[in-house]
């Protein structure tokens, strides 16, 4: 059966509506959301209410957590002080606009959702702030999936959709200085695991302007990345009208990658 996984909606209502329509047109009813319903975008309440109305199982994203906990976004995620200032402004704006009911909804979202062999998280099983980038250390990536006791790890947070298969792995170990004295050696076979990043519905950072999400078939194990066009002008106008930083509209319209993310893939927020 096909299921859709969406992530990083970022209060971009036209993008969310377009993606949900695309999912509906494929006859898919099983949808999982990996969080970051809010932040950057101009329609936080409407996006939350749409997800709530459709009863889509959702993980808590880093923005959802930060807005609820009254914490500013992790400083170390920002590539520059300007970006940090804009991020903080967007946080405050979003916090001010959100209804109490919607804040409560975000506060009660789970960190992860498990369905059989699949684990759904926002960033990584370790943290909502950890980036699992497509080319990060393969052993570290495999460790994230394996230690989470999953076969397929669905994540978001990077805003870059990808499917990564880690296979045919092994590690040889030798115990030196063992008691009793004989040296012990063994080779451990590593399991095949996959990481699927759903990209971003509301703030794509893959170099294009289309919203992205993934479709997973739990019978064939196939995963497909979907790109969906939406009315970008509508979102951009709403961003400007709301008084949010115009660069948020500029980057959506131009599709330039302007990732406000840590460069170190293994970096975990120490806050």
């Amino acid at each position: 059966m096909n299921q859709a996984v969406i992530s990083c909606l970022h209060a971009n209502l036209p993008a969310v509506e377009a993606v949900l329509k695309d999912i509906e047109l494929q006859g898919i009813t099983n949808i999982t959301c990996l969080g970051d319903l809010v932040g950057y975008g101009p329609q936080p309440n409407k996006v939350i209410e749409l997800i709530r109305d459709k009863e889509i199982p959702t993980c808590q994203g880093c923005w959802d957590e930060d807005v609820v906990d009254g914490l500013d976004a992790c400083d170390c995620s920002y590539p520059s002080q300007l970006a940090e200032k804009r991020g903080h402004f967007a946080h405050q704006w979003t916090t001010d606009k959100l209804t109490t009911e919607n804040k409560d909804y975000l506060a009660n979202l789970p960190y992860s959702i498990r369905k059989d062999k699949c684990l759904f998280v926002h960033g990584s099983p370790n943290s909502q702030h950890e980036y699992l980038l497509p080319d990060m250390d393969a052993f570290a990536a495999l460790e994230r999936v394996e230690n989470a006791r999953a076969e397929i790890l669905f994540c978001g947070h990077t805003h870059q959709p990808y499917i990564r298969e880690l296979a045919d792995g092994s590690i040889a170990v030798k115990i030196k200085n063992a008691v009793p004295k004989d040296t012990q050696e063994k080779e451990i076979q590593l399991p095949m695991r996959r990481i699927v990043n759903a990209g971003s519905v509301g703030e794509p950072r893959h170099g294009g302007t289309k919203a992205t999400y993934v479709v997973y078939n739990d019978v064939t194990n196939e995963v497909k990345i979907r790109e969906v066009e939406y009315d970008i002008e509508l979102t951009c106008k709403a961003i400007i009208d709301a008084g949010l930083p115009p660069i948020f509209a500029w980057r959506l319209k131009n599709g330039f990658e302007f990732a406000e993310q840590a460069e170190d893939a293994s970096h975990v927020c120490e806050r």
Binding site: N126, P134, D135, D137, A138, F139, A140, A141, L142, E143, E146, N147, Q160, P161, Y162, I163, R164, E165, L166, A167, D168, G169, S170, I171, A172, V173, K174, I175, K176, N177, A178, E185, I188, L190, H206, G207, G208, T212, I225, E227, S266
Partner: protein, 222 residues
């Protein structure tokens, strides 16, 4: 402490002394030991200390970690142990404890109490190699010295491989990644300690007071 000092004085070569945490605990008064570590005698080695799990508990309980308290300790060991811990350490030492680092990186060696993920994590011979590799990678070191498990071991990750295939909107790419030789070394606890020779990559597991002249040959630099 005195047994260690006697042992190390007999050990040839230039020695650097690292103390990987848990210098304190609830069982007995820790003030004399802390005073000696902070103010070594003229013929003592200068100890390089990091904080361990027990130091983390007292810092939590004493309000050095914001609103958090040592709840894990309280739940697992009870209120009495929390009280014993705070009574075992004079408050005048808390600022020194709070200033201790999580770990050291010397040459290509990482020295920590638990793991690079968590001060309370036990790394042992039974820890999955993939986890050990991850903890080494997080510190970007080739040798990781750990104390938390109290075990003494020297586990080498001699080789490894994994094939990675990434599909994204730009297409597919494959990559084969190999493991460079790395090791995790459990240094022991209590009377047990470890000598490490950075020149030969050899470890010697020692019990304070039982080290013979013959056994120390070829070792010396920690």
């Amino acid at each position: 402490m005195n047994l260690f000092k006697k042992d190390l004085k007999k050990t040839p070569g230039n020695i650097t002394l690292f103390v990987l945490g848990d210098m304190i605990g609830p069982e007995k008064n820790c003030n004399r030991l802390l005073h000696r570590l902070i103010n070594p005698k003229s013929n003592d080695l200068q100890p390089w200390c990091i904080y361990g799990w027990w130091e983390e508990q007292i810092l939590l309980e004493s309000g050095y970690r914001g609103d958090q308290r040592a709840e894990a300790l309280r739940i697992n060991k009870g209120e009495e142990v929390v009280k014993s811990l705070t009574n075992a350490v004079d408050k005048s030492f808390l600022d020194w404890i709070a200033a201790l680092q999580f770990g050291f990186v010397e040459l290509d060696c990482g020295l920590i109490h638990g793991s690079s993920k968590d001060v309370g994590e036990n790394l042992t011979l039974d820890t999955p190699p993939l986890t050990l590799l991850d903890r080494l990678t997080r510190l970007q070191v080739n040798r990781l010295f750990t104390a938390r498990s109290k075990q003494q071991f020297h586990l080498e990750l001699t080789e490894g491989i994994v094939n990675s295939e990434v599909e994204d909107l730009n297409g597919n790419r494959k990559k084969e990644q190999k493991v460079p030789q790395k090791a995790v070394i459990g240094i022991g606890a209590g009377k047990n300690y470890t000598l490490y020779d950075v020149g030969t990559d050899n470890t010697q597991f020692v019990q304070a007071g039982y080290k013979t002249e013959k056994r120390i040959k070829g070792f010396g630099r920690l």
